[in-house]
């Protein structure tokens, strides 16, 4: 270094003007609750249990998703469909209990790929916060998508554009 460089003053001034120039640049912040970053097409968010067009649950409790799950986050119990419940369940067998432990889930999407009935898929919701660990074990009620016959808007919203690709 020569004497001029050893003074450090020019370097300091240069640095100062670099930071000053940032004063006038566009801000990178996205103000989250009001503005949201758009997700890529392949984004994998929270799982959702799907229904068909008549509002019947698609899941038959075959257990393939639980087998495919590398994190062993999925538990389910099967039950047989009783007469008179045809408007609730699409197949003869259904999941009486279906839980996903969101603390274990790694959002890999294997469950979605394993499912032969298109019953489970990953939506665009990001996992929300919760006060207790128990709250992160999502029950079937938490996972089920709104009924399209009763709440078509909520159904479309929960579906997102990702699921449309699957349904068609």
């Amino acid at each position: 270094m020569n004497a001029w460089e050893k003074l450090y003053l020019p370097a300091v001034l240069k640095g100062m003007f670099i930071t000053l120039s940032h004063l006038f640049k566009k801000k990178a912040t996205i103000q989250y609750p009001e503005q949201k970053r758009s997700f890529p097409k392949v984004f994998r968010g929270l799982q959702v249990l799907n229904r068909d067009e008549e509002g019947r649950e698609r899941c038959t409790a075959c257990g393939l998703c639980a087998v495919a799950c590398p994190a062993e986050a999925i538990t389910m119990e099967a039950a047989e469909r009783q007469p008179g419940e045809e408007h609730l369940y699409r197949e003869e067998k259904y999941a009486a209990k279906y839980e996903i432990n969101m603390l274990r889930c790694i959002f890999c999407g294997f469950c979605e790929e394993a499912c032969p009935k298109d019953a489970i898929y990953l939506s665009e919701t990001v996992t929300p916060a919760n006060y207790s660990r128990a709250g992160f074990i999502y029950k079937k009620e938490d996972l089920l998508i709104p009924d399209p016959t009763k709440d078509p808007e909520g159904y479309q919203k929960a579906l997102g554009h990702r699921a449309k690709k699957i349904n068609n």
Binding site: V12, L20, K27
Partner: protein
Amino acid sequence: MYLLMIDWWFILEKFLLVGFVVTFSLLIAMYTTYAERKIAAFLQDRRGPNRAGPFGILQPLADGGKLFFKEEIIPLASSKFLFVLGPSLAMLTAMLTSAVIPWSTPLQIGGRDVPLQIADLNIGILYVFGVVSLGVYGIMIGGWASNNKFSLLAAVRGASQMISYELSMGLALIALLMLTGSLQMSVIVQNQIVHGWHVIYQPLGFLIFFICALAECNRTPFDLPEAENELNFGYHQEYSSMKLGLYLFAEYVNMFISGTVMATLFFGGYDIPFVNEASWGLSPNLLAFIGFVVLLAKAFFFLFVFIWIRWTIPRFRYDQLMNLGWKKLIPLALVNMVATAIVMLLRNR
């Protein structure tokens, strides 16, 4: 200057002035914390606090409220009195300096000239110096009373830093004093109104003074006493609640006051450059107000530069800090002093 004569109007007006200056500098310090965060954010392409009130204007109030309602912790093995004394001293010494700053030209109220300066001591600069040298105690007492080895180390570190930089600060000022021939702040400002700002004559002196002011206020790149991330948070490690708030606040008050001191000593105080505001024919009160605003504008500029430097230049290592203080700034200040003396001698011949 006879200090003990009693004139009740005089006392009343001084009380009002003191109250005004204190509340005003506290207010400014409050909003400097906001400015610090906002400018830091802007320099880093962020937005900064913008939730409390429009543009986050109420953020300092929210911060203050948070500090007030936090739990007060006094370490069991600390000396309680000194533990409380530390932050109070820091705040006190930060405020005391403002007593000799001439804020503007005198007001005229009811036929009386009311000078906008709390005390026009003829040892004005030395007074500033005395108070600055007392600023060490807030840090040292707080650090020692916490009974924590990290805060003690930080306190010792801070004290030696402040003492070292006081020296070059004083030497840089001596050259300035040779120009004015007086230590009185009002005379120094008057001299600049007549002859032009001192920064023209003393650019090197100003640079040294500025660097030392950074070090005295414990601002980056000299914020070793409180180096929070690599050196364990510094002398106020054990402090919580409003006592921590006082320490943090004292830093901002210090910044504001040192900004005004620099404006007064080197940038003409309340003087507007290139114009003769007395010839505008305005009323003296309006002129005083304009002068006050001008001084504030200069002080705010320095505040901005302080913050700007903080978010640009990384922290010094301790040996680098001492090297800069003792081996660079002091010889430079001495050279500056001698050069000024020689030039003055030659010009007088």
